[in-house]
Symmetry: C3
Subunit: 263 residues, 3 copies
């Protein structure tokens, strides 16, 4: 992983197609745009092929899925696979809602996801890992989380980003841990959605090394959040969200390198 990829991203201004979560779509578009990517959203299956053609990567977010949107995701995902554009899947709430787990599994039978980005409960559900019993917020340590992320990556032949206090990025063998971040991410809805679309943006500029692309995305977002949080004297979720958009535009690889804790 190298943070110079951020400079490349800003030079190339990749188009990222997000099939979005209605709840967070505006923030995701603004986060992509502020960082230096070019967001485009779509809701109509009939423009799937054309949208994928102009995009550098695709993010499929199950946050407010419908049957119509699932059909669109199958078409967009298949077109992206054919056109060799990276596909990032964000399996929102598959750990909590059986319908969503089934929808994600069905989607993954016809679309290859190059990267899956989820929290512990979501990755556990996809990996069919015995995690639920321990509760989503109270796992027994990062050892388990790493093995679970690796199992998920091996099962779906993809890179997995398991985000949390420490983000775990793995292709099933290699593991990168990003220790940066701030608890303020939990106070603003859509941090995970944004990370998934940022992974797509970095994957668009480094498709030949998705592990590095995903790790860079995680480091950039977690590090930028940490820089913003350091300025705040109280837990202000509204102010944090605004300053995060500011800083995604202003942050430099040098600033991030100074604080990055990645192993």
């Amino acid at each position: 992983m190298t943070l110079d990829l951020l400079t490349t991203l800003r030079q190339q201004n990749p188009i990222v197609l997000t099939l979005a979560n209605d709840v967070t779509v505006q923030d995701v578009a603004n986060g992509l745009n502020a960082l230096g990517a070019s967001p485009i959203m779509s809701a109509e299956v009939d423009e799937a092929e054309a949208m994928v053609t102009i995009a550098g990567a695709v993010c499929l977010n199950l946050g407010t899925l419908t049957k119509l949107q699932l059909a669109q995701m199958r078409a967009v995902g298949a077109a992206a696979n054919r056109q060799h554009k990276p596909v990032i899947l964000d399996p929102v709430a598959v750990g909590a809602v059986p319908y969503r787990l089934q929808a994600a599994q069905t989607l993954l039978r016809t679309v290859h996801a190059d990267v899956i980005r989820g929290n512990a409960g979501e990755i556990a559900a996809l990996a069919a890992w015995n995690w639920q019993a321990k509760g989503i917020d109270a796992g027994t340590g990062s050892g388990d989380l790493v093995a679970m992320a690796q199992a998920c990556a091996q099962k779906y032949h993809c890179v997995v980003v398991l985000s949390g206090a420490t983000d775990i990025v793995t292709d099933g063998q290699q593991v990168v841990r990003v220790h940066n971040g701030t608890e303020l991410f939990q106070l603003h809805v859509g941090s995970g959605d944004l990370l998934s679309s940022l992974v797509a943006a970095f994957a668009a500029v480094q498709p030949q090394n998705l592990l590095a692309a995903a790790a860079t995305a995680a480091t950039v977002l977690a590090g930028t959040g940490e820089l913003v949080a350091a300025q705040l004297t109280a837990s202000r979720p509204g102010t944090f969200a605004m300053l995060l958009i500011d800083k995604l535009h202003l942050v430099t690889p040098a600033e991030l390198s100074k604080i990055a804790v990645v192993d």
Copy 2:
């Protein structure tokens, strides 16, 4: 009504399922999250039962209704009624658009709303009260408004929150008036939507006393807005919206008690 319910809410972190207004969904999710509840949204009827099962309460918002969403609202509302989870209805624009009034009335024939939250024009339409003639913004005084809210509550056997400069909360007999607030709420779109979902959050933690839950929700939002407005030296709707999210997270029952004007 007691403001200690806010402490209970923060301890329990109830899941609130909102079938949302597309215009304001991000703000509503962030407001719920900042206060201490856990927002979840859904757009697919096939996950209705599962979503209700994990939720503590349900908010049905007609803000950008479609026929598909109305079918989903019937399923979610019926499941919530069966599972004894509080249902809050926000009948957006039923006072102005006949199609919406009909949709709300049809919905209310199969789904019992435990709380209805609307402005004067919306409550008047549901109560079939002669209000329109006077104009929505120029009623003849709070006496009429109270009687109208009571009539609506009696008609639908529910609690009514009629929001305005003074919020009126009633179960058809008892009446609580919340006099807090700020005109800045009118300058930011979605204050009413947020109140409806906050009523759901408080209903989730106090389902046995919905009058108190609704009155607390109204006091918390109106009081928090008032505290934020007191810091501003000009009418800044963008800044107000951001600081409101901040303060929903930071506000304490003690701060609110000091300024609450409730009778």
Copy 3:
């Protein structure tokens, strides 16, 4: 064009119906509201006639179009034409996605757009102008852009607002250029969407002179953005978005007159 129209708008508080881009709908609603208009959104074709009846103007935004939404746009547009309410079309991405160009052209065969607001690539596509070859961001100068905007206006018998570093407003003959603005508009998603809905707001209060209404809308938004940008010491897209909403509420015709560069 006269900036006093802003005072009229604030007095009349026109209802603007926007068939919205899901990505930016919240910001557009807040921008309209902050300025002094009254936003309403709708997603259901069956309420088309009633919505148009209460609205002063209509904005059709193709940003996240679906087949269902196109059917709604046909109904809303036809109703607005019949009721002599101004129709503003925002043809998002018709320059980049052939499906969207076809959708816009089909829509324009049954609905008369009174104003079309787009960027250079979008107006070029509608005018069938040889622009794409030159690249969207690297045209050969404003001479070409004016001729292209005029050709589009003549083709569709409407006013065209071609927005960019200089906004060009034309009815096919007369041309108004608005030189105000800031590059920060490019850093916040939805500035174009907001302009389209603001054009609708001004069209609602001055339907008999849509060229002036559109030019005023462009001047108000560009000038307000310029005033906000002048306060910022760095390119902060999040802060800019928030302060833009503030200033749309606070800005006066006198302030705008002082800085307006319109010819």
